[in-house]
C-alpha cells in the first residue's frame, strides 16, 4: 500500500489555480522531497492531506484512508509539522507534548521527546516565550509522538539555525530507518538533496517533474561540465573540441583562464585525450555535475 496516493488533485481559488490535476504516489519507507518555489502550491497540497483544504476535484489517500472522508483516521497515521502554525502561549513545552500524546492516544515520556529535539532545558517554560526555532523543534517533537507511519514536514527548516537544520536532518534519517515514510516540502534545494530518495517539483500548481535526484540530473541534458586549466590556452582550438563525439559545446573563459566543455559523462576522457594529442598540457581539471538548483531553475523557468 502506498503511503500517499494522490489522484488528479485540483484546487482553484476564484480564478487562481493552486493545484492542477496533481498525481503523486509516495511509497512506504521513502523520503520524498516536495520541491517548488514559494507559492507553487506545496502547502495547498499538504493542506489537502490534512483536510484543511478541500480539493475541487481528485482525492488523496494516506495508507488507504481517504483524507477527506476519513480525515481523522488518515491523520492518526501522520505526524505533522504544519505550515503557519502557532503554539499555545500559556502551555509549557512539556504540556504541549502531553497534549499531543493524549490527542494521539499514545503513551511515552514527554522528556524523551523533548530531549530528542533538543529543548529539554525549556520543558517547563511557557511556549509563549520560545524563539521561532524552539517552537519549530517543539512542534517537530509533537509530530514524533506516537511513532507515526508518515511524517509530513512543511518547510521544516524555516527558522532553524544551521545546527538545528542538521539536527532536523538527523531526526529525519533516524525516523526513516525506523520505517517511517517522510514527506518533506521545501524551497531550499540543499535540504532536499541531502536527505531525499525522490523528489517532485511543483511549479504553478503542476507537478513539473517527479524522479530520483540522479534521474532528474540525467533528464536535464545529462550533462557534465568540465573545467580544464592548460598551460598554453592560445593553442586550443574550440572547434576541434566540439568535434569530439559527445561534446555539446566548448568555450574559453578568461577569468580564470580555462576551457569549459559541456559533454556527456562518457566523453570526458576523450576531451582530455584530444587536448593531449594536439600537444596542450592539461594542468588541472574539474568536473561539475549539474546541481539540483540548475534542475530546479530548468523546471521552474528560472524563477521568473
Amino acid at each position: 500500500m502506498a503511503a500517499i496516493e494522490a489522484r488528479e488533485v485540483s484546487k482553484r481559488y476564484g480564478t487562481l489555480t493552486a493545484l492542477d490535476r496533481v498525481d503523486l504516489t509516495v511509497e512506504e519507507g521513502e523520503i520524498f522531497g516536495f520541491l517548488g518555489p514559494n507559492g507553487a502550491g506545496k502547502s495547498t497540497m499538504i493542506n489537502v492531506f490534512l483536510d484543511f483544504v478541500r480539493p475541487n476535484t481528485g482525492q488523496v489517500e494516506v495508507f488507504g484512508h481517504d483524507c477527506q472522508r476519513e480525515s481523522v483516521a488518515a491523520r492518526e497515521c501522520m505526524g505533522v509539522l504544519p505550515e503557519g502554525y502557532d503554539v499555545y502561549d500559556r502551555l509549557t513545552g512539556r504540556q504541549h507534548v502531553l497534549f499531543a500524546m493524549e490527542s494521539k492516544n499514545a503513551g511515552g515520556e514527554p522528556m524523551e521527546i523533548l530531549e530528542r529535539v533538543g529543548i529539554e532545558d525549556a520543558a517547563d517554560r511557557k511556549a509563549g516565550g520560545y524563539s521561532k526555532g524552539m517552537a519549530q523543534r517543539l512542534v517537530l517533537g509533537m509530530a514524533l509522538v506516537g511513532e507515526p507511519d508518515l511524517l509530513i514536514l512543511d518547510e521544516p527548516t524555516t527558522g532553524l539555525d544551521p545546527r538545528g537544520a542538521r539536527a532536523m536532518r538527523e531526526i529525519i534519517r533516524e525516523e526513516n530507518e525506523r520505517g517511517t515514510t517522510i514527506f518533506f516540502s521545501s524551497h531550499i534545494l540543499e535540504q532536499v538533496e541531502a536527505v531525499c530518495d525522490r523528489v517532485g517539483i511543483l511549479h504553478d500548481g503542476e507537478l513539473a517533474a517527479i524522479d530520483t535526484i540522479d534521474g532528474l540530473r540525467q533528464s536535464v541534458g545529462g550533462g557534465t561540465k568540465l573545467l580544464i586549466t592548460v598551460d598554453e590556452i592560445e593553442r586550443v582550438e574550440v572547434g576541434r573540441i566540439e568535434a569530439i563525439a559527445g561534446v555539446e559545446s566548448a568555450w574559453i573563459e578568461s577569468e580564470p583562464s580555462q576551457i569549459v566543455v559541456t559533454c556527456s559523462n562518457d566523453a570526458k576522457m576523450d576531451v582530455l585525450v584530444g587536448l593531449d594529442d594536439v600537444g596542450v598540457d592539461v594542468l588541472n581539471f574539474e568536473t561539475e555535475e549539474p546541481s539540483l538548483e540548475d534542475l530546479f531553475v530548468e523546471y521552474t523557468g528560472g524563477g521568473e
Binding site: N47, D51, R75, G84, Y85, R90, S103
Partner: protein, 272 residues
C-alpha cells in the same frame, strides 16, 4: 472522539487568564450577593424567591460572560495558526467545536453552580427554607441560558476568519439581543398600528416574536416557574398557549443548540 482532551486543555488555558478568572468570580459572587441581600428584604425567604430577585443581574452578566468566553475561541486560533497545530493532530472539527463548547461552557456552568449553591445557602440560613428540586431546576435553566450565549458567540467565531469581524459580530449581537431589543416593544406597537396590524398593544404573534430573545425567554421561564406570575400579556390566563413558560423553556433550549449547530455545519464545510 477526542473532545475531552480539547475541553480540558481549553478550560486550563482560559483559567490561566486573569481577566477570565475575574469574570467567572464576578458571576459567582453576584449570586452570593443576591443570596445575602434577599433575607434583608423578604421575611422568611425560600430558595424559590432567589431566581426572580436575580433576573436583572443574570440577564446582563451571563450574556456578557458567554460572549466573552466564546467569541474568540475559534477565530483566534484560526488567525494565529493554533488551529493548524490542533487539527494536524487527529481531532475532527466536531471535536474542536464540542471541546470548546464543553470546556468554556463548563467553566460558565461551574461559576453559576458555585454562585447559586452558595447564594441559596445564604437564603436558607438562618431563617429561610431550602427546596432542592427548585434549586436544581433553576440551576439548569440558568446554565442553559448562559450556554446559549457561549453557543452564539462560538457560532460567530466559526463563521469568519477575521478577529475584527468576530468581535464586532459578537458584541453587536450582545447589544442587539440584550440591550436594544427588549426596549423596542413600544416601537413595534406603533409600527404595527401604522400598518393596521394592531390596535392598542401587540397582537399575540408579535408578542411571540418580540419575546423570543434568550433574555426575554429566560425572564418568562423564571417568572412562570419560580415567580408564580399569572398575569400580564404572556403569562396571564387569556394569553395564547405559545406565549407560556413551557414554550419559552423549549425555545431557550433551542437557542443553546441551534446557533452552535449551524456554526459547526458551516465550519465543517469550509477551508481553513
Amino acid at each position: 472522539m477526542t473532545w475531552r482532551t480539547i475541553a480540558k486543555k481549553d478550560a486550563r488555558a482560559v483559567l490561566d487568564s486573569r481577566t477570565f478568572r475575574w469574570f467567572l468570580a464576578i458571576v459567582a459572587i453576584a449570586f452570593v450577593f443576591g443570596g445575602y441581600m434577599l433575607p434583608l428584604s423578604v421575611e422568611a425567604p425560600t430558595t424559590s424567591d432567589l431566581p426572580s430577585s436575580m433576573t436583572d443581574a443574570v440577564t446582563l452578566l451571563l450574556p456578557l460572560l458567554g460572549i466573552m468566553l466564546g467569541y474568540k475561541a475559534i477565530v483566534g486560533e484560526r488567525t494565529s495558526g493554533r488551529l493548524n497545530l490542533l487539527l494536524s493532530l487527529p481531532h475532527s472539527r466536531r471535536d474542536v467545536v464540542v471541546g470548546k463548547l464543553v470546556g468554556r461552557g463548563g467553566l460558565l456552568a461551574a461559576a453559576v453552580s458555585v454562585g447559586i449553591v452558595l447564594g441559596a445557602l445564604l437564603v436558607y440560613y438562618p431563617f429561610g427554607t431550602l427546596e432542592p428540586l427548585v434549586l436544581a431546576s433553576y440551576l439548569l435553566v440558568t446554565v442553559c441560558f448562559g450556554l446559549a450565549f457561549v453557543g452564539i458567540a462560538l457560532a460567530i467565531s466559526t463563521l469568519t476568519t477575521s478577529e475584527h469581524l468576530a468581535t464586532a459580530g459578537a458584541f453587536g449581537t450582545f447589544f442587539v439581543l440584550v440591550v436594544v431589543w427588549p426596549q423596542l416593544q413600544p416601537l413595534f406597537s406603533v409600527a404595527l398600528e401604522r400598518v393596521g396590524l394592531a390596535s392598542g398593544g401587540l397582537p399575540e404573534w408579535a408578542l411571540f416574536v418580540h419575546g423570543a430573545t434568550p433574555g426575554l425567554l429566560y425572564e418568562r421561564v423564571v417568572e412562570g416557574f419560580y415567580g408564580g406570575a399569572s398575569d400580564g400579556p404572556y403569562l396571564g390566563p387569556d394569553a395564547a398557549w405559545y406565549l407560556g413558560e413551557w414554550v419559552a423553556l423549549a425555545l431557550l433550549i433551542a437557542w443553546a443548540i441551534v446557533p452552535i449547530t449551524l456554526g459547526y455545519l458551516r465550519f465543517q464545510s469550509t477551508d481553513l
